[in-house]
């Protein structure tokens, strides 16, 4: 199973394994990673699973669809060029080692 490292806003880090095919959002919730709300359950509706993808991984994560692009207009924390909704990043072996930073707030 590929690993993902979550960097918290306070600087601490946690690395967890997430099944191939599952989203980073889901992996975070089931692994008890704090800092992801995911109010809509992965429907790309609420923008509360916002993460910043480590620059080194930006060209490896799946491309953004228009829906996600537009929902990112509504994040509670600052939107940056590496902002993504973690419900839309599906894990695969190609993403083993992925690093994402959690924003200060989701709501």
């Amino acid at each position: 199973m590929p690993n993902v490292t979550f960097k918290h806003h306070d600087g601490t880090e946690e690395t967890v394994s997430i099944d191939n095919g599952k989203s980073v959002m889901l992996g975070a919730l089931t692994s008890n990673i704090d800092g992801i709300e995911a109010e809509c359950g992965g429907s790309c509706m609420c923008a509360t699973c916002h993460v910043y993808v480590d620059e080194a991984w930006m060209d490896k994560v799946p491309a953004m669809q228009i829906l996600e692009e537009e929902m990112l207009e509504d994040t509670a924390a600052e939107r940056k060029s590496n902002s993504r909704l973690s419900c839309q990043i599906e894990m695969s072996d190609a993403l083993d080692g992925l690093v994402v930073t959690l924003p200060e707030t989701q709501v």
Binding site: K22, N32, E39, G41, S43, C44, E73
Partner: protein, 414 residues
Amino acid sequence: MSADAGLVVIGASHAGHQIAVAARQAGYAEPIILLSDEDALPYQRPPLSKAYMMGKVDADGLIFRSREFFQDQDIDLRLGVSVAGIDREAKEVRCADGSVLPYTLLAIATGTRVRPLPVPGAHLDGVHYIRTLSDIDRIMAELEAVQNVVVIGGGFIGLEGAAALRQMGKEVAVVELADRFMARGVGVTVSSFFANHHREQGVDVYLQTGVSELTGEGGKVAGVSLSNGEVLKADLVIAGIGVIANQELAVEAGLDCDDGILVDENARTSDPSIFGAGDVTRFNSRFAPMSLRLESVQNATDQARAAGAAIAGAAKPYDSAPWFWSDQFDLKLQMTGITSGHDKEVMRGEPSAEGFSVFYFKGDTWLGTDTVNRPSDHISSRRLLDMGYALSAEEAADETLALKDVLKQARKAS
């Protein structure tokens, strides 16, 4: 035993679990007991009629939080516990198993239950509802042998179920009593667009049509008799004809109720020690002329946050614009505001899967917006409503004016 009996939350779905989590996040330090009458860890309901039914996510993929999360938050989650009564004098919750839980503060988030089909044959095998994980598991267990599905009720749930089953290759018919789909939630343009889209995808659409009887063979449903005399073949029937607020515990305890437990902007009931949140509550809102009982994730989540904040003594009143969504086939329908009672629709774009928006007005007053595959308009509308912005029909109709720029200007001005 702690001097303070703490908080007991009845119900652990979207609202209930969020009350517990929000109370902790807002600094509540007393014991919290979170009761669910289901056996599964608290889970997301929206994917049930969509991704879960289509096998795109499994049950693990529906949970809100791991069991460890509740432990870490010092939330005593108890599954499979039904509540029999509330004693407000003694400040105790009586469980069906005979146990008694004292409380200092109580929260009721018992949600709704499906309205049962009021026709002969409703008890037959193969007749289903969409509400809980086990409802969907029962449907999925039968699906392989199913060819013909009849969905009774053309509301959000019924249409999502119809779309999911059609995408799985089933023959699907939808029967709706009203003259259009989702009549309570959207305007005529959106209704007819969705009816056409379902037809194009091969769904048989019956409007202004009632169901008189379900017929069976050997105890299992085989047909649906319609008010027009037609009989539809059915191996599986799904009824989505609305829900009923689970307010009985509150009524019996003497709390003020009126098709929903009445709560204020801090989610407090008529008893200051008791809170309520989610589908089961009724409340006043600046977004509607009448009191509201909303069945939505947004309402459950935001109202539960207000309850959690008030429970922790850091009141943060619930005041956000209502929003809803529905996924059907390749269409994402997003709604914000309470638009019933509108007398004018203003369009952006033409009805097509490419995306369009409908702005609803009553007189000059903008009530809200429905968007189809146009999330940017949805988000901007939601935020403009939150701000109390008075969008004009001219602004709404002006395609050259990006709504997100209207929002930016409004934010600058405020």
